[in-house]
C-alpha cells in the first residue's frame, strides 16, 4: 500500500516539476539578498559574548551591579508631602571603571520643567464641558517633582551632582574600580500627586466623605539606574508611560506615618510587635496557618473607626528586604487587612490584601485567594516564588512592585458588582502579582522592551486565569464555566493584526513609541507565546524551555535575545522564523485554500507524456512505461474514469504489480482510489504551519499539520499531492482558529458561504 502511494505521488511530483521548468524568462534577472523568512537572525541579534552566550544563558563574564539602600521616610498626611533621607551603597561588579553614577528621579516627570507634556501632540477642543474647562485651565495645584536638598558623601561632604530631567549624575570623588563600593546620602522631599486626578503609577487617592487618603507609594526615592554590558548607564528618560530598569539590592527602610495608619510594603516587617496590637498579633499567628480562607488582621469595623478618629501621633514601620529591585508601600487609616498562607514548594508564603471598606465585599471575598492562586500558577510555569509574601492593595490603577501591587476594582456606589468589575479586579490582581516574576525577579529592562515583562506576564496571566477559574468556580459570574480571557487566545488578536498598518508596530519596539500600547506590548506578545506553546512547540517543549529561561535569568537582567535563544536552546527547535515574523515585523497570518484538483489514473499517454517525449526527442511509444494522471474537467478527462479503479485505468501499473510482486503480496496490497492536487496560497506575510482538516465521504476526519517550513521555497504558494482510500468531501484550514488567520473566508473547500456578522445579528434579533 505505502509503496504504491509513493510511486503514484512521485509521478505527480515529476509532472508538477516539469510544468514549473517550462516558464521561460526572457531577460536575465538581477541578484538579490537572502530575504528568506527562514533566514537566521544573525543580523538582528547581538553577537554572543562572554557576558551573554549563544545558548541564551548568562556567560562566564556576566555581571550585575548592586545597590543597597538605607532609608528613613516620613509621611506628612495633612500636606500630602513625603520626605526622606537615604544612604545608597553602590557596588561596581563590572569590569569597567566608573567615573560617575546615575540616579533616577522619576518624580521629576511631574516637575514644572518636565519634558513629558512637551513630547505629546495636543490641541484645543472645539467644544468642552465647563467642568473639563475648569479642570484643564483654572485649577491650580502644588508643584510636583523632587526637591533634592543635599547629596553628600559619608562624611557629610557635598558631592557635585547634576540633574538632567528624570536623572541625576553624581560625580565620584575618585573612579570606582571592579569590586569597589561607594556610599552616598541623598536628602529629598516632594508633594505627592493625587494619582486619581493627575494620573501616575503611585500617589494618593482622596476620599472627601471622611477627608482621608489611601497612599500607594512607589518611585518615591532617588533610585540607582542600571549599568550593564548592553547599554552602559541606562540613558532613557522617564516620560511616564514606559516603566523602569533597576539593579538588585538590599533595603532597610523605616517609614513614619500617622499612628492609626495600617501599612505594608516590600520586605519583612522587622518591628511587628511595636506596630501591631496584641489582638492583631493573635490574628496574624492564625493567618499563618490558614491555607483556605484569609484571616482578617484589621477588620472593617476597626478601619471605619480609625477613619473618623484620626490620630495625631506617629508610628514608625521598619522593613528589611533582601535581593529586590525596588521598594513600594501602601498606607492608610482606611485599610482593612487580611492574610492567608499558601504553600509554595516546601515554604509558606503569605497572600496579603489591603483595602478600604468601599472595596468590600469583593476584596474580602477574593483578593487574597486570587493572590495565592496566582503564586501557585506562576511558580509552576517558572520557579518557586522566592519571597515570603505578596500583597494586593486596592487603588484605582494597576501597578506592580516587588512583593506589593496596586489593583483596581471596587463595587459601584450602589453596591453592584458588575461582571466586568469582578473579572477586572481578579484579572488585574493576577496580572500585577504575576509581575513579581516578570520583571521584578526576571528583571528585563521595561523601559526599552515593554513586551518582555508585559507580554510574558500577560501570557502567564492567561494560564493563571484558567487555573483560577478552575480552582474557584464560585469566583466566576453566574453561568460562566471558565475565566474569560481577552488576551491570549489567537482569535482575539485578529482585529489588531488586521488593522491599519499605520497604527501598529513590531513587538520589538520601545513601548513609548507605539500607538496601541495595550495590543503592542501586552496582547500580541502574549498571543504569540500562547500560539508558540499550543500550536508550534507543544506544551511540553514550550513549558520546559520557558521555565529554563525564567530560571536562568531570575535575579538577573535578560535581553530579548536571551529569551529567544534559550527557547531554542532548550527545545531543539530553530524558531528564528517565528521570532522574525511575529516579533520583528507587523506581518499577519492569512493562509488560504487556493485550489483543489482531483486526478484520475489513465493508461493513455497524456500531454505530460507528449512533452517528455518531445524533450527527450523520442516517440511516445519509446518512453519508459508510466502511470498517467488526468485532471478532472480537463480535455483528456472522460467521465468513465470516475468510477474505475486506478488499476483498471492503467495497464502499466497492473503490469508493474504482476512483475514485481508475488500473488500473495498482491493480495495484501491495497491501492489508493482518490488522487488530489491541493494548492495553498498565503496572502499574509507570516509563515505559519498549515493546519488542515480533511473530511471524507464516510464522515471521518483527519487532521494534518504541514510545518511552517513548507513555505521555505515559495512564500506565496505551495501544493500537496494526496492519495487516499476515501473520497475527500471537504477541507478546512485552521479549523480551531489557532493561528490568528485574519481572513477565514478563504479557509474552506468547498467555499463556505458565511453569513456576515451583520446579517447574523440581524437575523438573530
Amino acid at each position: 500500500m505505502k509503496k504504491l502511494i509513493h510511486y503514484c505521488l512521485a509521478i505527480l511530483f515529476i509532472s508538477a516539476g516539469l510544468s514549473a521548468q517550462e516558464i521561460v524568462k526572457p531577460e536575465r534577472q538581477s541578484g538579490h539578498k537572502n530575504e528568506n523568512k527562514f533566514k537566521e537572525l544573525y543580523d538582528e541579534f547581538a553577537t554572543p559574548n562572554m557576558f551573554r552566550t549563544g545558548s541564551g544563558a548568562p556567560g562566564p563574564g556576566y555581571y550585575q551591579q548592586q545597590a543597597d539602600y538605607k532609608m528613613d521616610i516620613e509621611l506628612d498626611d495633612v500636606n500630602s508631602k513625603l520626605s526622606g533621607y537615604e544612604t545608597i551603597t553602590y557596588t561596581n561588579n563590572s569590569p569597567d571603571e566608573l567615573k560617575y553614577l546615575w540616579v533616577q528621579l522619576d518624580q521629576n516627570m511631574r516637575a514644572p520643567d518636565s519634558k513629558t507634556p512637551l513630547i505629546e501632540s495636543t490641541f484645543t477642543e472645539q467644544a468642552q464641558s465647563p467642568s473639563d474647562f475648569v479642570k484643564k485651565y483654572m485649577k491650580d495645584q502644588l508643584e510636583r517633582g523632587f526637591h533634592i536638598e543635599k547629596v553628600t558623601d559619608t562624611n557629610g561632604k557635598s558631592l557635585p551632582h547634576m540633574i538632567n530631567g528624570t536623572m541625576m549624575r553624581v560625580e565620584l570623588p575618585k573612579s570606582m574600580n571592579t569590586g569597589g563600593k561607594f556610599s552616598f546620602n541623598v536628602q529629598w522631599w516632594y508633594n505627592i500627586n493625587n494619582h486619581v486626578e493627575e494620573g501616575g503609577r503611585s500617589g494618593f487617592e482622596y476620599f472627601s466623605d471622611t477627608d482621608n487618603k489611601i497612599y500607594v507609594m512607589a518611585q518615591f526615592y532617588p533610585r540607582m539606574a542600571v549599568y550593564n554590558d548592553v547599554e552602559g548607564w541606562q540613558n532613557a528618560q522617564f516620560f511616564g508611560r514606559d516603566e523602569f530598569a533597576l539593579p538588585f539590592g538590599n533595603y532597610e527602610v523605616n517609614i513614619t506615618v500617622p499612628a492609626d495608619h495600617v501599612l505594608d510594603g516590600t520586605g519583612r516587617l522587622m518591628n511587628r510587635k511595636e506596630v501591631f496590637t496584641k489582638q492583631m498579633m493573635t490574628r496574624f499567628e492564625k493567618a499563618k496557618k490558614s491555607y483556605d480562607e484569609p484571616v482578617v488582621i484589621v477588620t472593617q469595623a476597626e478601619a471605619e473607626a480609625a477613619e473618623k478618629l484620626k490620630s495625631t501621633k506617629a508610628k514608625t514601620w521598619k522593613f528589611y528586604a533582601e535581593n529586590v529591585r525596588d521598594f513600594g508601600w501602601a498606607s492608610s487609616r482606611k485599610f482593612i487587612w487580611d492574610m492567608m498562607a499558601v504553600k509554595i514548594g516546601d515554604k509558606d508564603v503569605m497572600a496579603v490584601s489591603l483595602y478600604p471598606p468601599e472595596a468590600n465585599p469583593l476584596w474580602g471575598d477574593w483578593s487574597s485567594k486570587t493572590v495565592a492562586s496566582t503564586l501557585i500558577s506562576y511558580s509552576r510555569m517558572t520557579f518557586d516564588y522566592p519571597y515570603h509574601k505578596a500583597i494586593s492593595a486596592s487603588a484605582p490603577m494597576g501597578m506592580e512592585y516587588p512583593m506589593i501591587c496596586y489593583n483596581f476594582g471596587r463595587p459601584d456606589k450602589n453596591g453592584t458588582i458588575s461582571k466586568r468589575t469582578r473579572y477586572g479586579m481578579m484579572g488585574v490582581i493576577i496580572h500585577e502579582v504575576g509581575h513579581n516574576f516578570f520583571p521584578m525577579i526576571v528583571n528585563s529592562d521595561e523601559r526599552q522592551w515593554t513586551w518582555m515583562d508585559e507580554g510574558l506576564n500577560t501570557f502567564v496571566q492567561y494560564v493563571a486565569q484558567g487555573d483560577f477559574g478552575a480552582k474557584y468556580p464560585d469566583a466566576l459570574a453566574l453561568g460562566d464555566t471558565e475565566f474569560p480571557s481577552r488576551r491570549g487566545p489567537a482569535s482575539k488578536i485578529v482585529p489588531y493584526m488586521s488593522g491599519n498598518q499605520d497604527y501598529i508596530a513590531p513587538i520589538m519596539s520601545k513601548g513609548l513609541n507605539t500607538h496601541q500600547f495595550g495590543n503592542n506590548a501586552y496582547g500580541k506578545p502574549a498571543t504569540a507565546l500562547n500560539i508558540l506553546r499550543e500550536t508550534i512547540m507543544g506544551r511540553e517543549l514550550f513549558d520546559y524551555s520557558f521555565r529554563e529561561y525564567a530560571q536562568r535569568w531570575k535575579f538577573k537582567h535578560p535581553t530579548p535575545e536571551d529569551f529567544f535563544r534559550t527557547m531554542e536552546d532548550a527545545s531543539a527547535m530553530d524558531l528564528d522564523w517565528y521570532w522574525r515574523g511575529w516579533f520583528y515585523t507587523t506581518d499577519y497570518t492569512d493562509i488560504g485554500l487556493k485550489d483543489v484538483k482531483r486526478l484520475y489514473v489513465s493508461s493513455k499517454p497524456n500531454q505530460a507524456a507528449i512533452k517528455i517525449a518531445f524533450d527527450e526527442k523520442k516517440s511516445i511509444d519509446d518512453l519508459e512505461p508510466m502511470v498517467y494522471f488526468v485532471e478532472e474537467g480537463s480535455d483528456e478527462y472522460n467521465t468513465s474514469m470516475k468510477n474505475n479503479d486506478p488499476l483498471q485505468n492503467s495497464t502499466t501499473l497492473k503490469e508493474y504489480l504482476m512483475d514485481n510482486f508475488t500473488e500473495e503480496e498482491r493480495k495484501t496490497i491495497e491501492s489508493p482510489k482518490y488522487f488530489y492536487n491541493i494548492t495553498f496560497d498565503k496572502p499574509g506575510g507570516l509563515v505559519m504551519p498549515i493546519i488542515v482538516e480533511y473530511v471524507y465521504a464516510d464522515g471521518s476526519k483527519e487532521r494534518v499539520t504541514y510545518p511552517a517550513q513548507i513555505w521555505r521555497h515559495n512564500d506565496r504558494e505551495v501544493s500537496k499531492a494526496l492519495a487516499t482510500q476515501k473520497e475527500i468531501v471537504s477541507i478546512k484550514i485552521d479549523p480551531d482558529l489557532e493561528t490568528a488567520d485574519i481572513d477565514t473566508s478563504n479557509n474552506a473547500w468547498p467555499k463556505e458561504i458565511k453569513q456576515s456578522k451583520f446579517e447574523q445579528f440581524k437575523s438573530k434579533n
Binding site: 514644572p112 513629558t116 507634556p117 505629546e120 495636543t122 490641541f123 477642543e125 472645539q126 467644544a127 464641558s129 479642570k135 484643564k136 485651565y137 483654572m138 485649577k139 491650580d140 495645584q141 494619582h195 493627575e198 494620573g199 501616575g200 503609577r201 511616564g240 508611560r241 484605582p396 490603577m397 494597576g398 501597578m399 506592580e400 483596581f408 459601584d412 450602589n414 453592584t416 458588575s418 461582571k419 466586568r420 477586572g424 484579572g427 488585574v428 496580572h431 500585577e432 474569560p484 481577552r486 482575539k492 482585529p495 491599519n500 499605520d502 497604527y503 500607538h515 496601541q516 500600547f517 495595550g518 501586552y522 456576515s756 456578522k757 451583520f758 446579517e759 445579528f761 440581524k762 434579533n765
Partner: protein
Amino acid sequence: MKAVKILFLTLLFSLISFAPIHKFYVSVSQIEYVSEKQSVQIIMRIFIEDLENLLRKRYDSEITLNESEKESQINEYINQYLSSKVLFEINNELKKFNFLGKEYEDDIVFCYLEIENVSKIKDFKITNNLFFDVFDEQQNIIKTNINSEKESFVLTSQKNKAEVHFKP
C-alpha cells in the same frame, strides 16, 4: 503657563494610568454597502468601559452595561447618543439610520446600524463625533467597503468627517 501645564497633565492622565487596561480611546466603525440588499450596514466597536462611562455621565449614573437589567433603556440611550453624534450623507442627502441593537463580546460593545433603501452610492460622507465630549484624545476609525472599494480613515475632533466619492 500653569494652565497649559495642567491641560497637559490631564491629557497625560488617561495615557499613563491603569497599566493593564486599554489606554487608547478608540472606536472602530465598519461600513459596508450591500448593493443587492440596497443596504448600508454598519458595525461599531466601542469599549464597554468607554460607553458605560459616557452613558453614566450623560444619562444615568446608575447604569451598568452587560448585566441584563435596563438593557432596553440602555438601547434607547445609545440610539439617542449615536443619532446626535453620527451623521451620514449619501449622494449629498442626509440619511437616517436604524439602530438594530448591540451585543457584548469581552470588553467590547458591537452596535449595529443600518441605512435602508440605498439604491446606489456616488458620494458617501460620515461625520463622527463619538466620545469627543468625554475623551480628549478619542480616535474614531472608519473603515468603508463601498462599491468594492475599501478605504480607512482616522477621525479626531479636529477632523471629524470622512468622505468617499465614486466615479459615475
